[in-house]
Subunit: 211 residues, 2 copies
């Protein structure tokens, strides 16, 4: 899964700068013999995961990448558990949603991957700071990827979507990869105009349940 020595070196900061550690010290730290530590270091070196220079060790970029991937996978697995619900006040956005959601590049993907044709416009929900951790948690989840594309010389970035219900109506939260909003605004897309359909206006509290 993840190598003990790499984990140890990570904790010692060996991905930042070379760390002075003998094979015996490493062996001691991982509860193995000096011989095992020596052998493993040779193997890790051959795999290109670390570099040595007169009894200093430094992790390579490759090792860090590998550790990061494991970390992300673990986090996703651990979090994939709980239901996520938000509630916040309806606010008016910058009206760009209408423009983006009239781009066929987005529309066709949303139809295909989310199963509805989006109303041209986003609903913006301002969530309190207490829900921001949940927002980060959600974003760490797998989600549905809407790819970016180019159209009329302009570039449209990719985004991630999560199916949800807004006051019990089918919708989706979208996280554009390059968003103009801060962490406290959720952007919602839906097959119809939620404002008129749900009879809601700015300031009303809106509930959002991810599934």
């Amino acid at each position: 899964m993840i190598n003990d020595i790499i984990f140890l070196l990570l904790k010692k900061g060996a991905h930042r700068e070379p760390v002075r550690m003998t094979t015996s010290e490493i062996a001691n730290a991982i509860n193995k013999s000096q011989q095992t530590a020596s052998r493993e270091l040779i193997m890790l070196e051959n795999e290109g995961l670390l570099e040595r220079r007169k009894s200093t060790v430094k992790l390579t970029e490759k090792a860090v990448k590998q550790a990061e991937n494991i970390c992300i996978a673990l986090r996703a697995a651990l979090n994939a558990a709980g239901e996520i619900k938000f509630s916040g006040a309806l606010v008016t956005g910058l009206k760009e949603g209408r423009y983006y959601l009239s781009q066929d590049g987005y529309v066709s993907q949303i139809k295909e991957k989310l199963g509805f044709s989006p109303f041209p416009g986003t609903l913006n929900i301002q969530i309190p700071a207490s829900q921001i951790e949940k927002r980060l948690e959600l974003r760490a989840r797998e989600g549905i990827r809407i790819g970016g594309f180019e159209s009329a010389g302009r570039e449209f970035g990719p985004m991630k979507a999560y199916k949800c219900r807004i006051n019990h109506t089918q919708a989706a939260i979208v996280f554009p990869e390059r968003s103009h909003h801060g962490l406290n605004v959720l952007e919602i897309i839906a097959p119809l105009n939620l404002r008129t359909h749900l009879k809601i206006k700015d300031g009303d509290t809106v509930h959002c349940e991810v599934f």
Copy 2:
């Protein structure tokens, strides 16, 4: 380090509800023989990391805690690289800081572990939503633990502290384990009255650099 089977079960959501998986299926998923999977499951069961009931498996609280700790340690090690800086507006808190920081249980520990005698009062900095991710990152780091205690029949919870500089003056960020503040307020303690020392007032932008 982290067990393949536990990782697999986590991905299958076995920490939420019992998951139906035979030893052969598990063996297949981790590229081992059915016999090895069986043996490992027995061992994990003996260690109290999972429970079985007619070919369903469920991870225990202990297993989840263990995985969480590994995840946090990994994240902390990986992130330990970058400097963390905050900047935000000085705000007035609930004035409880003064009360807490006159408790000898806290004062003596702060003297010992942070190396200064705290001015009785906290400085509260309101950070923008864009810095909340950094705040979570900081909290995932090791930090200096200030233990909880009881005094005069009242319970004082533990907290974590991180040495920092406020506008170049020595101080520390504290995270009470049970905080009244949301994620957007940082509480700072220092050896002197920072408001008068730095000549700052509510609304002024304050810079905080962790090291």
